[in-house]
Symmetry: C2
Subunit: 225 residues, 2 copies
Amino acid sequence: MTITTCVFDAYGTLFDVTAAAQAAAAEPNHTDLANVWPAIARDWRAKQLEYSWLRAVAGRHCDFWQLTQDGLDWALEANHVTNPGTRARLLELYWELPAYPEAPTILETLKSRGINTAILSNGSPAMLNAAVTSAKIGRFLDDTLSVEDVGVFKPSDRVYDMVGARFGCVKDSVLFVSSNGWDAAGAAGYGFQTAWVNRAGAPVDRLYAAPHHVVSDLTAIPELI
Amino acid sequence: MTITTCVFDAYGTLFDVTAAAQAAAAEPNHTDLANVWPAIARDWRAKQLEYSWLRAVAGRHCDFWQLTQDGLDWALEANHVTNPGTRARLLELYWELPAYPEAPTILETLKSRGINTAILSNGSPAMLNAAVTSAKIGRFLDDTLSVEDVGVFKPSDRVYDMVGARFGCVKDSVLFVSSNGWDAAGAAGYGFQTAWVNRAGAPVDRLYAAPHHVVSDLTAIPELI
């Protein structure tokens, strides 16, 4: 099946979620992060995702901004960072995460070839709009789809259903791209073609489906279409 | 409301899930685990739980024995352990996990006071029966309830519903005990009275409900009733 539509996860895939903790740690007001920022970045992300899955299982949805604060609060306590100013700065930076260096060029290439392009993310509309604007990639995207429109997080089928509803395309004409192994597996199980951006060289997740392609960054995505 | 029924999570709460990797590492045939068994125990557990939540969100249930193998396979690859004999031994030990030292006495105390006692676990019936038998705690338990009867993992309401269906009790006459912060929070959100056994001194999970009691091991449980 010819790919007509290329859909990207946002956090970790187009945007570098570790950048907030790293950038704050480099600022003179946040020396409390100097030694612990990698642990905070890791715990923050892990808890943010864990809470998204738990809320989806229990039917207790909240938006991703709440999860982002909840995950950070756990991570700060676990790493003994108590300064409210540090918390505020980390949250502020989450609204202006940098895109990975190759992301704008890849998106531009896809658009120039007539491929539909979109983000499909757990993020709230406000968070996603801020990140897209900050990274200056809005002109290469046909749409930014947020799970807030369906009220549940990935990997629920109701989230992946949003792509067909928006673009009128069948499942296997979609290439879904995610750096989150579980998201790539979830999308593969749903019926999309999938590419896992395995930047960290992690083992493949043992789930109910496997990604069709594994790449080390976004550069190879146009070659898959 | 008077507590009539005390329900325990199994893995991590009554049974020490880190014991399998630790015990195997101490055996002469498994020196490949010498330096990495703590990382394997951590990754194995993390992936086992992650996969349980993801499968529950996506409606792709499998039993906990499959998840246990899937999580271990990820953990072994991440820690560069390739010996099939080591894998087999770790899985074998998961069927005979030791109970925490205080567990039998606490269960016996509850039974002597006429409290209904049960396990409510993600584990498969066969796994749970083996663990209960191995730890010799069956005579202190009125029942062992497995999520396999409802086909979805915690923290789905359908799992917690099994307690009322079995014992005919209202929600807040149940004390639910778990060492998993997310499980204690999930049960609290469901409507049980809850105790979180926080053996590791971890921060409380920022979820939609908080446990009613936090204890450092099982010793204090009878005092809560």
